[in-house]
Symmetry: C2
Subunit: 248 residues, 2 copies
C-alpha cells in the first residue's frame, strides 16, 4: 500500500521538483513503483519529463471532469501531469465544499498500485498545497542550508499542524533534507544546528550537492540517472533513495 | 523623479530579493537615493536587512490603515517592510474596487524623494505582483541560465502585456539579467540565445555569479558591500548598478 509523500517548501527554487523526479527515479531503479503527481501551475515536473500541456491534466480531475490521468514515464515511474490552467483552480474552487479533499479522493483508487506517491507542491501554502497535505501521510521538506531558508520554516510547520488538527490527523513531517549543498561554503552552522534541534532524526543524513547535471537533465526530459549516471547528482539521489527505503 | 522598477519572476529562488538589496545598495553607494519596497508575504527582503515583524508594515498600508512606513537602512537606502500578514491580502482585497492600484497610490507621494524605487515581488503572478506592475514604469527580470527558467518566462510576459493594455500603459520590461551564474557550467546555449533573440538590448551584459557571500550576507542583515566588499558578489552588483545608471 503506497505511501503518499508531499514534497513541499513555500520557499522557491529549493529543489522540490528536482527531488520529486530524482528521488522517484532513484526509488524506481531500486524496484519501487513510483507515481509523481504535479500540482504546481508552473508544471515544472511535467516539463522536466518532456510532458507539455498534456490534456487531460490534473486540473481537469480537480475540477471534477474525470479521474487522474496517469502516464508511464519509464519502468516503475509514472506521472500525473499538470498544466498552466491549474493557476485558476484556487479561485474556481473557492466556494466548493470539501475543496481540500479533492486530491485525496482522486488518489484513493491509486494507492494500492504504487509503493510511493510523491506530490510536487508549488512554492506557496494555498489550496493546492493544502490538498497535497490533506491527501498525504508524510511531508518531506527540501531546503537549502541558508539563512533565508530557515526563516520560512515556521510557517510551513504551522500549516501542517493546522491540517493535522482539522483535515488529516495522519499527516506528519517525516523528512527534511539539505539541497544544493556546496561543500566549499561553511555549512551555515545556525541552519544545521536549528534543523537538528527541531527535527532530530527526521533530518536525512544525505545532502544533495550542487551539481550542474541536475540543472541540465530537464533540458533532455530525463532524470539524473538516465542523463548522467556517473554524476554527483545521481550518486546523491541514489543515496537519498536508499535512506528513504531504510526508513520504511 | 524616481523610476519605479518591479523586480519580478514567478519562478522561485532566482535572486529577486538578493538583487533588490544589492542593486539598491550598489546604486546608493554611487549616490542614488533608493527605496526598497517589500511586497512578498515571505518578507525575505525585510528579514535580510534585519527587520522582523515591523509594525506597521506594507500590509497595513495596503489595507488602507495609513501611508507607507519608510525606514532608513543606511545612507541613501530605505525600506518599506513587509510582514507575514501580507499573505492574507489577496483574499481580503478580493472584492475591493481598484485593488490593483493601491500600491501605485501609496507610492505617488514618495516618487520625488528617491532616484530609484525597487519593488521586490513574490514568486507568483497574483494581486501583489499585479500591484507592483501597475505602480511601476519598468520591470527587471532576474533569471538563471537554466532550462526551467525559460519555461516560465512566457507567462510573465503575458501578464505585463495584459497590465499594459488594461491598467498601466507605461509598464515595460526593460531589463533581464542572469543570476547565480556558474562559469564552470556550459552556459545553457538555448537559454542565452532565446534571451537575446527575444529581448536583445534589454539583457544586461553583467551576469551575477554564484557567490557564497551573497547567501551569507542576510545572516548579518547586511548588503554585500557592507558584508564582504572584496567579494565577487559585491563586484558584480557594483557592475550591474553602473550598467543600470548608464541606461537612464
Ligand atoms: N542540487 C542541485 N544542483 C544544481 N542545480 C539544482 C539542484 N537542485 C535544483 N537545481 C536547479 O535549481 C533550479 C530550482 O530547482 P527546482 O525547480 O527543483 O526547485 P523548486 O523548489 O521545485 O522550485 P519552485 O519553488 O519554483 O517549484 C532548477 O533550475 C534546477 O534545475
Ligand atoms: N548570486 C548568488 N550566489 C549565491 N547565492 C545566491 C545568489 N543569489 C541568491 N542567492 C541565494 O539563493 C537563495 C534564493 O535567493 P533569493 O531569495 O534572492 O531569490 P528570490 O527570487 O527572491 O526567491 P523567492 O522567489 O523565494 O522570493 C537565497 O538563499 C540567496 O541568499
Ligand atoms: Mg518546483
Ligand atoms: Mg524573494
Amino acid at each position: 500500500m503506497g505511501k503518499i509523500i508531499a514534497i513541499s517548501n513555500h520557499k522557491g527554487g529549493v529543489g522540490k521538483t528536482t527531488s520529486a523526479i530524482n528521488l522517484g527515479a532513484g526509488l524506481a531503479r531500486k524496484g519501487k513503483k513510483c507515481l509523481l503527481v504535479d500540482v504546481d501551475p508552473q508544471a515544472n515536473l511535467s516539463q522536466s519529463l518532456g510532458v507539455f500541456d498534456h490534456q487531460p491534466s490534473i486540473y481537469n480531475a480537480l475540477k471534477g471532469e474525470g479521474g487522474l490521468e496517469v502516464l508511464k514515464v519509464q519502468k516503475k515511474m509514472y506521472l500525473v501531469p499538470a498544466t498552466g490552467d491549474l493557476g485558476g483552480v484556487e479561485q474556481e474552487l473557492a466556494a466548493e465544499a470539501g475543496r481540500e479533499f479533492i486530491l485525496k479522493e482522486l488518489l484513493q483508487p491509486l494507492m494500492d498500485d504504487f509503493d510511493y506517491i510523491f506530490i510536487d507542491c508549488p512554492p506557496s501554502l494555498g489550496l493546492l498545497t493544502i490538498n497535497a497535505f490533506t491527501a498525504a501521510q508524510e511531508v518531506y521538506i527540501p531546503m537549502q542550508a541558508q539563512y533565508l531558508a530557515m526563516q520560512g520554516i515556521g510557517k510551513l510547520l504551522g500549516l501542517v499542524e493546522k491540517i493535522q488538527k482539522r483535515l488529516n490527523p495522519d499527516i506528519a513531517i517525516t523528512g527534511i533534507f539539505i539541497t544544493q549543498f556546496d561543500r566549499r561554503k561553511v555549512l551555515n552552522r545556525y541552519v544545521l544546528e536549528t534543523l537538528e534541534s527541531h527535527f532530530g532524526d527526521k533530518v536525512f543524513k544525505t545532502r544533495i550537492r550542487n551539481n550542474v547535471s541536475l540543472a541540465e537533465a530537464p533540458n533532455e526530459g530525463l532524470d539524473i540517472f538516465s542523463y548522467h549516471p556517473a554524476s554527483n547528482g545521481a550518486f546523491d539521489y541514489g543515496k537519498l533513495a536508499k535512506e528513504v527505503i531504510s526508513r520504511s
